[in-house]
Each structure stands twice: as structure tokens, then as C-alpha cells.
């Protein structure tokens, strides 16, 4: 083996070794790398009980209720298999709307309601001009919240 081949082997070895180590570390910390738990994971008890965690999913259509005279909002987060009711007091981000993704930080109350301290909107990877969105909406006849706001 020439010195050059030995160095090539060393470089390949480093890359393979670090990839394996990194892969093992990331799969061991899978739970902690995950940014949020979805409602199914909450229902199956994978989310930590009694401490703060993030809940992610879709805001179910027709569930957003605002308490008059306060900033309190109630809505349901769903992954179309399980639902979690959420209560939040504060300002919501621009992209928060029914039928869109959301990530809330908070804890589960004993009655099963998720009390959020922070609500973040999760944007999806779809981009569309407003006119296209409007005609799509008309064709599907979907009850989506006003896209113009």
C-alpha cells in the first residue's frame, strides 16, 4: 500500500467512522432532537407528563374560539388520528390559521387540555400566488380562513 492509498483510507475511515458515531448518537437522542410531539404521540403517552414540551399538528377547522375582552384563544390541535384541546393567552403569529400547522410550547393539565405558553405557526412548503389559491379554494369549496389577512 502506498502512502497515498493509506491517506485515502484514513480519510474514508474518518468519514465512515464519524457518520456511524453521529448516526448512533442522533438515533439515541431521537426523542430530544424531535422538535415537537404530535397528538398521537401524546395519546400514546410518549410525551413527558407534568413537564413542559412542544405539541405540533394542524389547527382543526372550526375550532378556534376567542374569549371576548381578553387574549385567550382555545383551539384543537389534530393529526387526523387524535385531537388535543389547547388553551393559550397571548398574541398569535401571522400564519396562525385554521387548517394550518402549529407548534405550541406548554404542559398538559390533568383534564387533558394543553396549556400553551407560546404558539408558533409552522409554515408548509407550499407557495402560491393569491389568485391561484382563490381559484383552488373555489374549486374545492373548502372552508378555509381568509388568506388575505
Amino acid at each position: 500500500m502506498t502512502p497515498r492509498q493509506r491517506r485515502l483510507g484514513l480519510v474514508v475511515g474518518i468519514i465512515v467512522g464519524v457518520s456511524i458515531a453521529g448516526g448512533l448518537a442522533l438515533s439515541a437522542f431521537r426523542k430530544h432532537v424531535t422538535f415537537f410531539f404530535d397528538p398521537s404521540q401524546v395519546a400514546s403517552g410518549q410525551a413527558p407528563v407534568g413537564e413542559s414540551f412542544r405539541l405540533g399538528g394542524m389547527v382543526a377547522n372550526g375550532t378556534v374560539q376567542r374569549a371576548p375582552g381578553s387574549l385567550e384563544v382555545r383551539f384543537t390541535v389534530t393529526d387526523f388520528a387524535h385531537d388535543v384541546p389547547v388553551s393559550y393567552t397571548g398574541v398569535l403569529p401571522d400564519l396562525f390559521r385554521e387548517g394550518a400547522g402549529v407548534v405550541a410550547q406548554g404542559h398538559l393539565r390533568s383534564d387533558g387540555t394543553f396549556v400553551a405558553d407560546e404558539v408558533l405557526a409552522k409554515h408548509d412548503e407550499k407557495y402560491m400566488p393569491p389568485a391561484v389559491a382563490k381559484s383552488l379554494k373555489r374549486r374545492h369549496g373548502e372552508a378555509r380562513s381568509d388568506p388575505g389577512s
Partner: protein, 245 residues
């Protein structure tokens, strides 16, 4: 075997001259594509149905983020070539990549943060995508710092190359972070299986800018490589001959 071109590239005077001749061929198209792409993206493209005008930040954010990865791959490959073939100019290329890549990474992080505040509702979250991109910035800075820690160029080259190669593992992690884990950052719209989820009128300026940024990087790299070669070969005779002649 026709490896003569490769061996010629390894000669500092040859690469120094070649880089000087090639620079305008990258710099001018880059300037035209970036100006044209920015005009198309910021003025001609339609607004987004949900994000309104705010989505236009992708025309800077996405090319910057893309370049932050591409520059790193270039740097890692150059470092590997330098290590395996003991090629000094390959180490010079790797060293020249780092500040450019770090700048693109900062641009991606800052534009993402500016977009995140109104859209997500936060400047920063410890999301897998954001965290792995921040680690990329630290890899660039660590590479530059490690190199600066050695007085001997050859030792700086070898130590830096090892770090650059180890850091290559982070590149696929950044790209797949939004697919492997639940993250706040959205999944890819362009580099995905199936059709892009962004219509042609919005996608075209983005592709123009991606090409423009890539050529811009190539032009910057050529200029920096010349400076790096001058610095390394400052005692060599060909330099005094070239510069006085």
C-alpha cells in the same frame, strides 16, 4: 492516463494565472444573474397567498442556505484532496472557502430569523434545522480558528483538513433534518421527490439566483485563492518575476 491537467493545477504559478484569467468569466454572469434574479423575485413574482410580500425573503435566504452547504462540500473535498495527494493548492482552496461559507451561513441564519419573527412568531427556536445550520457556522469558524492557531502552514493545513472532513457529516444532517425529525422549519420545496411545491413564476427567479450565487462564490473563491497563493509563496521567485514582469 491523462492526469497532466490535474498535475498542472497543482502548480501554484499555473493556478495563480488561471484564476486571474477565469475570474471575469464568473464575476460578470454572477452580477447580471443576481441583479436580474433580484428584480424578478422582488418585483415581478406574485406575492404568496399566505405570507404576502414577506415570502420574498426566500430569494436571499434559500440561495444563501444552499451556498452555505455547497461551499462546505467544496471545502471538505478540497481538504481531502490536499490531505490525500499532499497538494498545497488544494489546502489553499479549502482555506479560501471558509470565510465565504461562513458569510453565507450568517446570511441564511439572519434572513431566516427576520422571516421567523413575523411568520412563526419567534426569532429563534432550537429546531433541528436551525441548530444544525448553527453548528455549520461553528464548523466554519472552528476551521478558521484552528488554522490560525498554527504558525506552520503545513500543520495548519493538515489539522484544518481533518476538521473540515469530519464536519462533512453535518451536511446531509442539515438537508434531511426537516424530513427525519419533526421540525418547525418547513420541508424542501424544490429539492424533493416529485414536483416542486412552488409555481414556475415564483420558482424561476429563485433558480436564477441560485445560479447567480454559485457563480458569485466561484468568482470570490478565485480571487481569494490568488491572495492565499501569494501569501503562501511570498518567498518564491516566480512571484517577484510575475509581479515585476
Amino acid at each position: 492516463m491523462r492526469w497532466t491537467w490535474f498535475h498542472r493545477l497543482a502548480s501554484p504559478p499555473y493556478l495563480y494565472g488561471l484564476a486571474a484569467r477565469l475570474t471575469p468569466w464568473f464575476a460578470w454572469p454572477a452580477a447580471l444573474l443576481i441583479l436580474g434574479g433580484l428584480f424578478a423575485g422582488l418585483v415581478l413574482a406574485p406575492p404568496d397567498y399566505q405570507q404576502g410580500e414577506g415570502f420574498r425573503i426566500i430569494y436571499v435566504h434559500v440561495p444563501s442556505a444552499w451556498m452555505s452547504l455547497m461551499v462546505y462540500v467544496t471545502m471538505g473535498l478540497a481538504a481531502a484532496v490536499g490531505l490525500i495527494w499532499r497538494m498545497k493548492v488544494a489546502h489553499a482552496i479549502a482555506a479560501s472557502c471558509a470565510p465565504i461559507g461562513a458569510s453565507f451561513t450568517v446570511a441564511a441564519l439572519v434572513t431566516g430569523s427576520l422571516w421567523g419573527k413575523p411568520m412563526w412568531g419567534t426569532w429563534w427556536v432550537w429546531d433541528p434545522r436551525l441548530t444544525s445550520e448553527l453548528i455549520l457556522l461553528f464548523l466554519y469558524l472552528g476551521f478558521m480558528g484552528l488554522r490560525a492557531g498554527f504558525d506552520d502552514t503545513q500543520r495548519a493545513d493538515r489539522a484544518g483538513a481533518l476538521l473540515a472532513i469530519v464536519g462533512l457529516v453535518n451536511v446531509p444532517i442539515i438537508h434531511y433534518s426537516v424530513i427525519w425529525w419533526n421540525s418547525l422549519h418547513q420541508a424542501p420545496s424544490v429539492l424533493r421527490f416529485g414536483k416542486p411545491t412552488i409555481p414556475g413564476a415564483m420558482l424561476a427567479p429563485l433558480l436564477i439566483l441560485l445560479l447567480g450565487f454559485t457563480l458569485f462564490f466561484a468568482a470570490l473563491l478565485l480571487v481569494r485563492v490568488r491572495a492565499e497563493i501569494l501569501q503562501r509563496e511570498r518567498t518564491a521567485r516566480w512571484i517577484s518575476e510575475t509581479l515585476s514582469g
